[in-house]
């Protein structure tokens, strides 16, 4: 750990344990700078004179509210509009037509799991709105869930900076779906009506969210511990309707013999749920580890 960082090494180790216990997420040694910058900002926001003082209180007084804020702030991710162009193309050209033929005029429910500041759900909503223009029967709603955080609040506001809207969002989509508000850009009502957000502990049971036709959980899996990965995927599996889809990041894959999903030829990051799912036995779980080629530290370095 660098000498320029102010946090006591023992506190850093304690924060790593806290994040693992509360959220199932591993913080690596290379996340020290991220911890300093994120928690330094939180300490100022909470009225502490120093980061160490806030961590003193956190572990000395065992404040649950502060623990949730600390962990949420460490888990925030830097996200872009249209984060994975190939994935978005698969949604537009394969998944939407499939879902339309399966669901008819029934409303299609899409979940953006770990949605951060909302760029993924809004990008999906833009794609779905365009698809709806050529397929009037297509009806959809999108739910974004993540830990409570300033990022999720920003997603709910739907206001993005000049820099954020230019990363991944084509200019035609910007002027069609956003209004300029001073120096920022605000989502228009036409998108806002189809997208909602909910604060959610991502390791908790997901049943209260209902059943979904498509679940997106992209490029976050690698941050989780082995046990948490299995837990999250099992939970997600339970809220995907039979013969509907789950989509991971381009560098992530599941062993498809478990979790009641089958691969789809030509779309390696999309899986379809069995028509008659079976209960997964706990002893089988250890064989169900996801395969991830993704480098967990990349986006944390960037977002620091």
């Amino acid at each position: 750990m660098s000498d320029v960082l102010s946090l006591k090494p023992s506190y850093y180790e304690a924060l790593k344990r806290l994040t693992l216990e509360l959220a199932g997420v591993h913080l690596g040694e290379d996340h020290a700078f991220l911890v300093e910058t994120r928690l330094g900002a939180l300490a100022r926001q909470e009225g502490y004179q120093s980061l160490n003082k806030m961590i003193d209180d956190l572990f000395g007084q065992g404040q649950t509210r502060l623990a949730v804020k600390v962990v949420s702030s460490l888990l925030e991710r830097d996200t872009h509009f249209n984060p994975d162009p190939k994935g978005m193309k698969a949604i537009e050209e394969f998944l939407f037509p499939q879902l339309l033929s399966l669901s008819g005029s029934d409303r299609i429910r899409i979940l953006s799991f770990a949605c951060s500041s909302g760029q993924e759900p809004y990008s999906l909503a833009i794609l779905a709105d365009k698809f709806q223009k050529s397929h009037p029967n297509f009806s959809f709603e999108i739910l974004g869930v993540d830990y409570p955080s300033p990022s999720l609040s920003r997603a709910q506001e739907g206001i993005y900076t000049h820099f954020e809207v230019q990363r991944g969002l084509p200019i035609r989509d910007l002027i069609t779906y956003f209004d300029r508000v001073g120096e920022n850009w605000c989502i228009k009502d036409v998108l806002r009506e189809s997208v909602s957000f909910r604060e959610f502990h991502l390791l908790s049971k997901l049943d209260s969210l209902g059943q979904f036709d498509l679940v997106l959980f992209r490029n976050s899996l690698a941050h989780y511990s082995s046990a948490a990965q299995i837990r999250v995927i099992r939970s997600l599996s339970s809220i995907v309707k039979a013969e509907r889809y789950i989509m991971f990041g381009a560098e992530e894959a599941l062993p498809t013999s478990g979790y009641n999903f089958d691969p789809i030829e030509g779309h390696p990051h999309v899986l379809i749920k069995h028509a008659s799912p079976i209960e997964i036995e706990p002893e089988e779980e250890r064989q169900l580890m996801p395969i991830i080629k993704y480098n967990a530290s990349d986006d944390h370095k960037e977002s620091a």
Binding site: H80, P85, H162, F163, Q166, R167, P170, I171, L174, I175
Partner: protein, 122 residues
């Protein structure tokens, strides 16, 4: 290697954009105004043009209209790159034949994102 022509009357902007494009493996050329850029395009059409709006001699909009009216089979990707943020002006630029639009200030993420959307990266 692809070529990008940076058209801007600010030497600093040309230098910053040139450095970003060079990191993205583009050959870069520079022009100070629309007229100089038009002459360069007539002799050797680039793959992409990063185009400022307000310039002396010939502005970006006039350049773009003239470029798109040229009798040629080559159609370079044009990215307007300007401080103009008015939606009406953005729409006018797209109507005149711009493929994408970058609002200043920009960074390397924005340039690479726009080039990716235009099919010139990745």
């Amino acid at each position: 290697m692809r070529t990008c022509l940076v058209v801007d009357n600010s030497k600093m902007i040309r230098r910053v954009a040139g450095r970003i494009l060079s990191d993205l493996k583009f050959n870069t050329e520079e022009a100070e105004n629309g007229l100089e850029a038009l002459n360069m395009c007539r002799s050797n059409m680039p793959d992409a043009i990063l185009l400022d709006w307000n310039m002396p001699v010939m502005d970006g909009m006039t350049f773009l209209k003239k470029l798109r009216a040229e009798q040629t089979n080559e159609r370079p990707v044009v990215l307007f790159c300007t401080a103009e943020r008015d939606v009406v002006k953005i729409a006018a630029a797209l109507e005149a034949g711009a493929d994408e639009y970058i609002m200043k200030p920009f960074d390397s993420d924005i340039i690479s994102s726009k080039l990716l959307q235009a099919g010139l990266l990745g």
